[in-house]
């Protein structure tokens, strides 16, 4: 994809792909707002439990379900995803600065900062860890008795967070593709735009999670 970066004339001087990714991100705003709106519209309208923040007793069996959201676990996964954004900017900076001589007295940390492979790997790892947390969350919810079919909360919750998870998955695959190119032939400043586009997508997915974490998990 970067084998033939040919500098065609463009009216703004900007690269086509970067304009397209921003337009795509704008479009994704509408996608996620539709999901988030639905979640919020249906908030508090489930006729049976389990419920996100409240206890619920099944009138037919007398069984009481605890509030289902696990805030400590999700706070951890949120932190991991936030850190992945830090790793991502470091990966991009490393690619942009590739080939620039390091100062003679460069320490261990400065050398590490210059390693694009390290940071691409760390970003993908953090993304995968987030997905691991989500898999754990989903399975424990199912074990506790909440599936996508159970109630309005289950349907809208799993669909919203599942869509976000699918976006993270696509991002991890994208990062791994970049990582493999980096390992094969090394990514340099001429590839910076490709990494930048991936980074914009990645941060956007992060930003969506910032909204979801507050609107779904924290606000009762």
């Amino acid at each position: 994809m970067s084998a033939t970066v040919t500098h065609h004339y463009t009216s703004t001087g900007l690269d086509n792909r970067k304009i397209a990714i921003w337009a795509f991100i704008g479009s994704e705003c509408m996608l996620f707002i539709s999901l988030i709106s639905t979640y919020l519209i249906y908030k508090g309208r489930s006729v049976v439990g389990p419920l996100p923040h409240e206890k619920w007793t099944d009138p037919s069996t007398g069984h009481t379900f605890a509030p289902i959201l696990n805030i400590p676990v999700t706070s951890m996964s949120t932190f991991v995803l936030l850190m992945s954004s830090l790793f991502m900017v470091l990966a991009l900076a490393a690619v942009q600065n590739k080939g620039r001589p390091l100062p003679a007295n460069a320490g261990w940390w400065t050398r590490k900062l210059a390693s694009s492979q390290l940071w691409l790997f760390m970003t993908a790892l953090a993304g995968a860890t987030f997905l691991g947390f989500q898999a754990y969350e989903f399975t424990s919810f199912v074990n506790e008795g909440l599936t996508i079919k159970t109630n309005l909360f289950g349907s809208s919750f799993f669909t919203l967070t599942g869509f976000h998870g699918a976006h993270v998955t696509a991002g991890v695959l994208w990062l791994l593709a970049l990582l493999s190119i980096d390992a094969r032939r090394g990514l340099g400043p001429s590839d910076a735009l490709n990494v930048d586009i991936c980074a914009l997508y990645w941060h956007f997915v992060d930003v969506v999670w910032i909204a979801i974490f507050t609107l779904v998990y924290l606000i009762r």
């Binding site: 994809m1 033939t4 009216s11 086509n16 795509f24 479009s27 539709s34 639905t38 309005l152």
Partner: protein, 617 residues
């Protein structure tokens, strides 16, 4: 440098591979050829949807008829609407986006040529997917708006709605991919000097439409995902009976998409007549900046009026008032456009050729549709009109009188550019007058039938309610439209072979697309033009005219000018095929899903890893 070379016979260039034969069409990434594919496919679907309309009108021509069953009637009106909106008008607009945008802004192609091919193939496969079921009487039958919960498994257990949900999802992919492409193209591939406020009006309106597509389609995507999940995985989004779902959720999401969709359907036609009217009035478009701003305003306001489709559900006085006022407000920029077209003609030397007749018809007929639209922007009036034939009359004046008339104005205007030959004027005028008379006989009486209380979507009706004569007229009119369409088809096919030679600028028009040969060479512009004016051929300075002279050279190849052309490639088509196959798997077996996904992912990777064009030297 090649300006001294003698014209060489048109041969495939060394770079771009074969330019004839079926394979060349399957692998093309040329925006003009893709535009041609869109045009032919969309005209086919236009006629297909027309035949569905004719069966509907035959059924309704007289009371108590049983030409088709009630169940099949539901499929007919659902597929008539779905076909005309998603498979005919939108892709007809896309044909012009493809063909014209790069030519009007002075570009050699769109920003992402292979993505462009992908959009077309997804459209074609998706169109086939959603159209074939009616041949087996299992077509979607929930209306083009597919209101849930009616369309959930509980009330629509058959496979019919599955085709609709999945089919629209597929077509959405095509529209979105194309929208990102054209958006980038217009922002970034304008020739030097082609500032935004020098862009031809068609490109401007297309620009606005791409924003609408980018922002409206994700919403219906999600609404459809919910419906898909409800139908296939047992979620509760529209499960009003057991789960307490809100029956209005679908309606809101659908119309947040649906109202901008109306502008997606009409603005390209507005753009086309904004090209036709100045060219045939020999006068620049009156109030160009106001036309631009009113287009933008229509689009922005278009996101704040969706609930005017839902006055009957009882949203309360605050919401009703807000949506009513916002809707009335849109009448202002729309009216501004009408007056600007009239003002352009008023002071010009009007040439009443076929494209101009269609363009004037748009101005007149859209005004009628617009006025009836303002009528039901008032909730009390709407409560009387909603779900009656009055609404059917309204939106056919807007969509047939507006979009279709504008698109035909565009076809007659640009056919010479696309083929190098003129469409026959005499047949064209017969076509026009039959359309104009036929559409008014068809749709005007519907206003009265609606006022007398005839509901939409009924399969037959009893005599003695005062509806007979109106329905009879409507049916007669529809067959006049049918005959006229055959006249057009004959004209189209005949003129491609033997029409008069057009030359580069048969209308004496002013914009860049008329500076190059007809049909344009694959590279479009031998030299990227320099633009100093909104109307380079009318008001251009020496630089404009110099570019125009250079680019008018006929019979050259890209190689003569050292222009690098992209490779032809089959990959976008295979990716599109994999995508559609994956969706088909939902209806058949999991194996098909994985097979489709596999094909899609593997071919997508080879696409991304292969270069678009040979490297520069």
């Amino acid at each position: 440098m090649a300006s001294t070379a003698i014209a060489t016979p048109l041969a495939p260039t060394a770079y771009s591979g074969e330019q004839s034969g079926v394979w060349s069409w399957l692998t093309t990434v040329d925006h003009k050829r893709i535009g041609t594919l869109y045009l032919f496919t969309a005209l086919f679907f236009f006629m297909w949807g027309g035949v569905e309309a004719l069966i509907i009108r035959a059924q309704l021509g007289a009371p108590n008829q049983h030409l088709v069953s009630a169940e099949f009637y539901n499929q007919l009106f659902t597929m008539h609407g779905t076909t005309m909106i998603f498979l005919a008008i939108m892709p007809l607009s896309a044909a012009f986006f493809n063909y014209l945008i790069p030519l009007q802004i002075g570009a050699r192609d769109v920003a992402f040529p292979r993505l462009n091919a992908f959009s077309y193939w997804v459209y074609l496969f998706g169109g086939i997917f959603i159209t074939v079921p009616i041949l087996f009487a299992v077509a979607p039958d929930g209306g083009w708006f597919g209101y849930a919960p009616l369309t959930t498994r509980a009330y629509s257990p058959g496979i019919n709605i599955d085709f609709w949900v999945i089919g629209l999802q597929i077509l959405g992919v095509s529209s979105l991919a194309a929208a990102f492409n054209f958006l980038t193209t217009i922002i970034n591939l304008r020739a030097p000097g082609m500032s935004l406020m020098r862009m031809p009006m068609f490109t401007w309106m297309s620009f606005v439409v791409q924003f609408l597509l980018v922002l409206a389609f994700p919403v219906i995507t999600i609404a459809l995902v919910f419906l898909l999940f409800d139908r296939f995985f047992g979620t509760n989004f529209y499960n009003t009976v057991d789960a307490g779902a809100d029956p209005l959720l679908w309606q809101h999401l659908f119309w947040i998409f649906g109202h901008p969709e109306v502008y997606i359907l009409i603005l390209p036609a507005f753009g086309l007549v904004s090209e036709v009217i100045p060219a045939n009035s020999k006068k620049p478009l009156f109030g160009y900046p106001v036309m631009v701003y009113s287009g933008i305003l229509i689009a922005v306001l278009g996101f704040g009026v969706w609930a005017h489709h839902m006055f009957a559900v009882g949203m309360g006085p605050i919401a009703d008032t807000f949506f009513s006022l916002a809707t009335m407000l849109i009448g202002i920029p729309t009216g501004v456009k009408i007056f600007n077209w009239i003002a352009t003609m008023a002071q010009g030397h009007v040439r009443l050729n076929t494209p101009m007749l269609f363009a004037i018809a748009l101005v007149a007929l859209f005004t009628i549709g617009g006025i009836s639209g303002v009528m039901h922007s008032s909730p009390p009036a709407d409560l009387q009109q909603t779900d009656t034939y009055f609404i059917v009359a309204h939106f056919h004046y807007v969509l047939f009188g507006g979009s279709i008339m504008g698109i035909f104005a565009g076809i007659y205007h640009y056919f010479p550019k696309m083929t190098g030959r003129m469409l026959d004027e005499k047949l064209g005028k017969i076509h026009f007058w039959l359309y104009f008379v036929g559409m008014n006989i068809t749709f005007f009486p519907m206003h009265f039938a609606g006022m007398l209380g005839m509901p939409r979507r009924i399969y037959t009706y009893d005599a003695g309610q005062g509806w007979e004569s109106y329905n009879f007229y409507s049916s007669i009119g529809s067959y006049i439209i049918g005959v006229a369409t055959l006249v057009f088809a004959w004209n189209f096919l005949k003129s491609r072979r033997s029409g008069a030679i057009a030359g580069p600028n048969p209308w004496g028009a002013a914009t860049l697309e008329w500076t190059i040969p007809s049909p344009p060479p694959d590279y479009n512009f031998a030299k990227i033009p320099t633009v100093t004016s909104r109307y380079p051929l009318w008001e251009g300075k020496e630089a404009d005219l110099e570019s125009a002279r250079f680019n008018a050279q006929e019979g050259k190849t890209a190689a003569d000018f050292g222009i690098v052309m992209p490779y032809n490639t089959i990959k976008p088509m295979i990716v599109a095929f994999g995508l559609v196959l994956m969706f088909c798997g939902l209806l058949t077996s999991r194996v098909i899903i994985f097979l489709g996904a596999g094909i899609m992912i593997v071919s997508l990777f080879t696409w991304l890893l292969s270069p678009l064009e040979p490297e520069h030297h």
